[in-house]
Symmetry: C2
Subunit: 221 residues, 2 copies
Amino acid sequence: MFKKILIAEDHQSSNISVQKTLQDLTIDNADYVYYCDHAFSWLKNAIRDQDPYEVLITDLSFEEDNTIQQITNGIDLIKATRAIQPDLKVIVFSVESRPSIIDDLFKVHGIDGYVRKARHDADHLKEALRAVYNHKSYQPSDVKQSIRDKNSYEFTTVDIAIVSLLYQGELQKNIPQCLKRRNIKPSSLSSVEKRLNLMKETLGFTKNEQLAVYCKEKGLI
Amino acid sequence: MFKKILIAEDHQSSNISVQKTLQDLTIDNADYVYYCDHAFSWLKNAIRDQDPYEVLITDLSFEEDNTIQQITNGIDLIKATRAIQPDLKVIVFSVESRPSIIDDLFKVHGIDGYVRKARHDADHLKEALRAVYNHKSYQPSDVKQSIRDKNSYEFTTVDIAIVSLLYQGELQKNIPQCLKRRNIKPSSLSSVEKRLNLMKETLGFTKNEQLAVYCKEKGLI
DNA sequence: TGATGCTTTACGGGAACCCGTAAAAATCAG
DNA sequence: CTGATTTTTACGGGTTCCCGTAAAGCATCA
């Protein structure tokens, strides 16, 4: 099993239980920090001392407080880490359940495991560590399930651009110009109207307000 | 210090760390459950056995899974509990940070302490237990702070009703009828327009879509 | 090449919404 | 009760949005 692990997690209670979970796996050399900047320092220092960490277990969202930080969230921490230690195994431990976000973590940021904070998260974390140790990636089944669920409507690039612009306060009649400026293809006012209608009809909405809230909650905009 | 405590928390990792926190306070007789229904059973049985719990520490949101539950969230658990054991001390331990929701817990549901899952939550939980043991209520300072912060705009009953109706898909021109049906006072179309304009102007928005997302995120609708 | 089907665009009438003004109603002080 | 102030309502013209239809663009295939 892994020997040297770093935990980056701002919630004290989560941090404590991750420590305990690692103890159960007889991993004694686990360090824990509450800020991304600290995590990055520890990772750097470990490399300098020629005793690098094998695994980083990190949360995604870190709350701001009065101590100013350079790195403010898990994704930026992962990006920064990749630059100095590309082979570090990364397991993300977060409440995030939106498939689009989790997919990105694997596909764009190349993480090795994802454990969602939920009913059996401590057990899942153990499974994840074992899987990653055996050079497999770990993604719990319920996430894959919700990927399927989510396919109630397949949002295209245009769809997301349109709703984003609306949410930013753009007038509908001005959206064609914005789309043309960004070289997004169907850009006429008719097309914008058509896409909006299709989205609303598919999702059972009648007003743009509902659509905006829906997209915002899903993390699409 | 308290002797007999029940923990209702669906996240295994949070549950573990609450247990550990109670151990630190040398509270050995702490039971823990992962479902509200179980919590309610344990509370009932303890009363039947004439050895009732002194404190309930509970989360607010419990995730659904394949086991169907009667009580599905912390607030309903608190309500049910109040009916069978009104003097039970209740400490809520949740990620919820919206002041309107937390205020309700104290004012409507009469809880004794609130600890937000955050950077020093384990320490705060200890403080809360000590405070409640000394017959004081416990509400961390950062919540009170955010109550003040939130006062960028004071939403009235009408405001919330209007945005809710919009979010439910009601046409703006039909909202006056809805308001009259509910006996909400300024109900003319002009008033609706005026309130909407005031809200948007104060919050720096130009479109209803932005307002709807804002209110939804704040838990106002 | 030209016929065919699909997507995108253009346009126009009507509905909903925005905004300013003014009347009506409610509130309040003296 | 009266007059002044504020709040609420009523109304109208201009803009934006909705929606249906028709034309234009574009790829496919005989």
